[in-house]
Amino acid sequence: MNPLLAVENLSVSFAGQQAVDAVSFQLAAGECLALVGESGSGKSVTARSLMGLSGGTVSATKLMVCHEDALALSEPAWQKIRGNSVVMILQDALMALDPLRPVGREIEDVLKEHSSLNKSQRTAKVREILAAVELPEPERRMKQRSTQLSGGMRQRVLIAQALIGDPQIVIADEATTALDSRLAALVLEQLAALKNEGRAVLMISHDLAQVAQLADRIAVMRAGQIVETGPTEQILNHPQHEYTRTLLRAIPSGVPRFAPLSAGTPVNEPRQLAPASTDSAPALVVENLSKSFAKHPAVVEAGFVLPRGATLGLVGESGSGKTTTARLVLGLERPDTGSVTLLGDRFAPHSEAARRGLRENIGAIYQNPLGSFDPRYSVGQILTDALSAGRSKRATGYKDQVGRLLEQVELDPVLSTRNPRELSGGQRQRLAIARALAPEPKVLVLDEPVSALDVSIQATVLDLLDRLQQETGTSYLFISHDLSVIEHMSDFVAVMHRGRIVEQGPTAQVFGDPQHEYTRILMTAMPRLR
């Protein structure tokens, strides 16, 4: 049969800069191909050029989209195809929908453009398609605006919008990336249904684990080129290219604690929890912690204990109260009720002056480290500032210590004169870790520390955190929405849902035999390779 998509030697360049380099693949009806690679690998540009939206200089020996020569298509001809024969589901549903128009109208626009149906026929069709994607109460929801819908509903609307033109090819560009596992599972389910209906699905993702469930074939992209392509089974179990192996190794789910995720990391000895001396207090005790914002409860009666030298993973969906919990623990918000005890000393609620002396025992790492650095400081100055307790950013006599810190987080000392803006995402996070380690804290609070990083960079940062914990015995409160990261990093897990900790216990127990209904839903939605 004729493939719906036939790409041969596709190259795209921007102002002489090659973004996609001689990429070839085919996609037939009822088939799913996944383009996997890290940010900047050219996968999104590839997808966009299939819709005539790349914005760069496109060349190819062959570029057939729905049996039409895409290289020869004029802009009006493209408009006929886009949203009709070929559709794209984007990552961010809130951004992709007009906040001022009812979602039903947004969907209907496609029909106005591409069909000859009259108004009532169009409305009926919209209702039908919303019911097909299992949006509850389609009649009521189609009259609402995107901001009035939950994330899951928006994602369904977006899929409905993509489907209403009865497309032959569906391109999902990181459609599951920013979603927590439950929503991601929902989208994957919808995409699977599309495939089974005989449509061609092209998935774009940086996450091998996520595409593995759905894709028939996987093409691994790096630096604009496809380095390896083959059936999913073969890519996952017998990867040929070194880079594919790197990506596979980087997936944390099912990898035992302290086993390395990146190639450069030497294998650590599996380690027992540091035998805590019986008289020393736990690193962190949180009791009955509650916090509301304008009567809206963010954290409700949360309580947990972080033993010394161990990692407690706090997992939950966005908006479940994880970050508020972190801020309460760090003394950045005043709790309504409850207390935080750090190494046996009362930490919160307390006046800032009273707890300042305890601050050197607790550090924090954020998802976006750049915002936490003074923009005027160089890497070396940031660390000097941290080491000198803020007395100076230029203090002499800290040069050796700065060098040691950089070495500890595996950053090249020549970077110390650079500004953090010039560093990559992974390097910035290493710098943030180095700064947090400067006062030699006993506890680190890590709020989504690797969520903004590509899988392979994430792997190296997680390996670094593992190594540092083994060397220094620092306790981690590790917050993430990513179950596989939590499973790999944590000795203990606490699951948060709507501000409450619904289940907690040793990692193996919570993941192996979840007791709470919500935990079970989360676990089944988690993509697993191993």
Binding site: L330, L332, G357, G371, F373, D374, P375, R376, G390, P439
Partner: protein, 265 residues
């Protein structure tokens, strides 16, 4: 800023500082010395900017006028920014009700066109260099104050200061190391832009006879005096006007370059 831009702006600033403080180095003649026999001489090698109705050398007067014009510009900007720093910082750090009060006052002041407000102030004080400074300074303050306030508020709630809190920094260290330097840096560009604007306003007030009184060589006043003879001696108005344009455009360009640098940060 590129290296050339840095050198050029440094030279520009150096030149005007020199003319303001030691005009006689560049134009040794007396700016007030009249010589009726030499009146209305067109620009020539003897008088490169020509002479005015009393035979005074226009070049000498333009150079000597720099002192007054720049003094009013700088002093007014300093006054405006000083007031703005106090009001803006107070509003940003004050409790909510006080913030609201200060904001409303600033908005009320802001709603009056600046030049109109300057005229109003001079109506009370009478014309002169001092009143011109106060007038221009006061009328620019509300705009600056709102910027200072938003700048400090943004910084106050920034992750950067939060990170400093987590590292155990006290209020004093946070203000000294992070808040003040980061708030001032963008304001520096603004001040440079403001000086050009203030020079124009000072000239405008003098032009209207409300700033420096004649026969002192002030650019706005010279512009105004030359207006009468525009049809027979264009150079009387042209060269003071050129000086205003050069200073205003120069400070704007430098301000923009600084602003660009700040934005890149």
């Amino acid at each position: 800023m590129s290296r050339t831009a840095k050198i050029l702006s440094s030279l520009f600033i150096l030149f005007w500082v020199l003319t303001a403080f030691a005009p006689s180095l560049i134009a040794p003649a007396d700016p007030l010395a009249i010589n009726p026999s030499q009146a209305f001489q067109a620009p020539s090698s003897a008088h490169i900017f020509g002479t005015d109705e009393s035979g005074r050398d226009v070049f000498t007067r333009v150079i000597h006028g720099a002192g007054d014009s720049l003094y009013i510009g700088l002093a007014a900007t300093a006054l405006g920014m000083g007031l703005a720093l106090v009001l803006g910082t107070a509003a940003a750090l004050a409790p909510r009700w006080l913030d609201e009060v200060i904001l409303r006052v600033l908005e009320a002041l802001y709603s009056v066109p600046s030049l109109l407000m300057a005229l109003l102030i001079i109506a009370f004080t009478g014309p002169g260099v001092g009143p011109a400074i106060v007038a221009v300074g006061l009328s620019t303050a509300p705009g600056y104050a709102r910027l200072v306030r938003s700048q400090i508020r943004t910084l106050k709630n920034s992750e950067m200061l939060e990170a400093a809190t987590v590292l155990g920094r006290g209020t004093w260290l946070k203000v000294r190391n992070h808040l003040v330097p980061n708030a001032l840096q963008p304001l520096l560009a603004l001040v440079t832009l403001g000086i050009g604007q203030a020079v124009i306003w000072a000239a405008a007030l003098s032009f209207l006879g409300l700033g420096t009184p004649p026969p002192a060589p002030e650019w706005g006043a010279m512009l105004s005096a030359g207006r009468t003879y525009l049809h027979l001696a264009w150079w009387l108005s042209f060269f003071p006007g050129l000086a205003i344009v050069v200073v205003a455009a120069g400070s704007t360009l430098i301000g923009r370059a600084l602003g660009g640098k700040v934005k890149a940060v």
